[in-house]
């Protein structure tokens, strides 16, 4: 049992994600309040791990860990957490952290909060719920807690530094895994690159059907913009995957992001909140997007789009 805060960092193609630094910065603050150390944990290879402002960094490198493998990573992290017995373990609430945080919680029988936006010195955690329409404050019981943190919750700079990492061998044997990494999947090419556009007209589930996408295309054309979308539009097959903005889609930073029928779920915000001018049209006056957009209107997107077409 220690008062340390363990941060499970994440990296891809030799680069750590911002959320890794965000967590290390927060961990330093929490560890000093708790009287422990902020420990950055790096699992995997092909990355220089001396980049954190942590009190210490542990780097576990093994051929079986060179690509993300939830089973292998889970086993390694479980063994390390058992050995270190920290007060708090932080994961990113990301494509990789989501595979591990709740799993570890069930394995160890320790509380885990997801969608964490903030953590108090007493480890009370504020979590987003209901697609950003609610915030829940939860208190973990016992001597160890797990927090799965939303990217963008803390400043990146506070976690950047040059602490020299200690390399250690995997604390568990990694043979006999049931999960095998086969190959990386690269993005499909051939479509416009929405990350390179200065103006986007972005449509959400409110567009209603594939046929209605044409209206957005027409509006975009008049504005010299490109059509992008939220995830459900792509999952429904109304637009190709290359147009998806958000956590599992692309991160965009256009001069104009005109949103038609997008609610503003945290996963969508991750991809567009730093756009220069955000205008949202949504029929629901309580849509979370209105807390983020610069301009908003509680209005029907079809009526507004038709009327805009007449004026352009």
């Amino acid at each position: 049992m220690s008062n340390d805060v363990l941060v499970i960092t994440e990296h891809m193609d030799g680069k750590f994600s911002d959320v890794s630094f965000e967590m290390v910065g927060k961990a330093k603050e929490l560890a000093s309040a708790l009287g422990g150390q902020a420990v950055a944990v790096v699992v995997g290879s092909g990355v220089s791990s001396n980049v954190f402002a942590s009190d210490s960094t542990i780097h576990i490198d093994d051929a079986a860990l060179s690509n993300f493998n939830p089973e292998a990573y889970g086993k390694v992290i479980e063994a390390l957490v058992k050995e270190k017995s920290p007060r708090l373990v932080m994961f990113g609430w990301t494509a990789t952290g989501m595979d591990l945080a709740a799993w570890l919680s069930a394995r160890l029988g320790k509380p885990c909060a997801a969608y964490v936006k903030n953590i108090g010195a007493d480890l009370t955690m504020s979590c987003q719920a209901y697609g950003g329409k609610m915030v829940a404050d939860v208190a973990p019981e016992g001597d160890m807690a797990i927090a799965a943190v939303l990217a963008g919750s803390f400043p990146v700079e506070a976690g950047q530094g040059s602490t020299a990492a200690t390399q250690i061998a995997s604390p568990v044997a990694l043979d006999g895994l049931k999960t095998k990494f086969v190959e990386a999947i690269k993005p499909a090419g051939g479509d416009v690159d929405i990350t390179a556009q200065t103006k986007l007209v972005s449509i959400g589930r409110g567009i209603g059907s594939k046929d209605n996408v044409e209206l957005a295309e027409e509006l975009a054309q008049k504005l010299g913009a490109t059509v992008s979308s939220s995830r459900p539009v792509v999952d429904a097959g109304w637009l190709p995957r290359t147009r998806q903005v958000g956590k599992s889609g692309l991160k965009v930073k256009p001069k104009l992001y005109l949103m038609l029928g997008i609610s503003g779920a945290p996963e969508h915000l991750e991809g567009m909140k730093s756009a220069e001018l955000i205008i949202a049209v949504n029929t629901d006056k309580k849509a979370p997007i209105f807390n983020v957009a610069h301009y908003g209107a509680t209005a029907d997107l079809f009526e507004v789009a038709e009327a805009m077409l007449e004026l352009l």
Partner: protein, 251 residues
């Protein structure tokens, strides 16, 4: 191939969400099937169509309203429906995952499908927890599943079209982000027919687990900023947006 799909009924986030005590007031909201569970049902049915087998949908009936969701799943191609009579709206994710894992143990599942998450979570997700309780490997964020013999090949999404392909020896738990094809539509007549004829197997909850989290408070977010709202009719709104864009050289 025995495929089990865990499905969850959640308050519709399109609604107003009134708070009662320290949680959303479940009595005054509509419940809908979690959107990722629609994807998950579709992906499971596609696997069954490809390699044969049975799809069983299972859910914890938290508020006595799960039947609709189970019927919908049957209309979309599931073969059997099971409900765990939890009947405790305050059961946390760990407790629900434990009940699900215990129920699934008896189903000799080759694959368990769960949605990648549900929007009302605090301590989700249940997929990885079921995997932990059943000691099966888990992969989430999955957007395609193929089965050959006793192994599955799944594609996991990271971001921006980047992902990875994994091969996993079965049994396993899959967290579905999206089905490889958009979910099929179940005609109302089919749903009605299923509602009249289907039987739902009931299972008593068994096993105990706790999230170890105490809910202190649930409330709408304290907003630090708000959009400047453009008032008026849709025509007024359009006019003002166009003016705004022109003034900034964006139209």
């Amino acid at each position: 191939m025995n495929i089990v799909v865990a499905i969850k009924h959640i308050p519709s986030i399109a609604d107003d969400l009134p708070v009662k005590g320290n949680n959303v007031d479940f009595d005054s909201v509509d419940f809908v099937l979690n959107e990722f569970d629609e994807q998950s049902i579709e992906q499971a049915v596609l696997v069954k169509e490809a390699v044969g087998g049975t799809v069983t949908v299972v859910g914890v009936d938290m508020i006595g309203e799960l039947d609709n969701a189970l019927h919908l799943a049957l209309a979309k191609g599931a073969d059997k429906a099971v409900k765990i009579t939890g009947d405790d709206p305050s059961a946390d994710s760990h407790q629900q995952a434990k009940w699900l894992a215990e129920a699934i143990k008896g189903m000799s599942a080759d694959m368990v499908f769960a949605g990648v998450q549900a929007s009302n979570d605090l301590d989700g997700q249940i997929g990885p927890m079921i995997a932990a309780y059943l000691d099966m490997p888990y992969i989430g964020g999955v957007s395609s599943v193929e089965v050959a013999g006793d192994s599955a090949t799944v594609n996991k999404e990271f971001a921006g079209g980047v992902g990875a392909k994994y091969s996993v020896s079965l049994p396993m738990v899959v967290g579905v982000q999206a089905s490889v094809k958009p979910p099929r539509y179940a005609p109302v007549s089919k749903v009605r027919q299923v509602t009249q004829t289907a039987t739902i197997e009931k299972v008593a909850p068994s096993g105990e687990a706790s999230s170890g989290l105490t809910m202190k408070k649930m409330a709408p977010p304290v907003v630090t900023g708000h959009a400047e709202m453009i008032e008026g009719s849709s025509k007024d709104v359009a006019k003002k947006i166009v003016e705004l864009l022109k003034s900034k050289g964006l139209a």
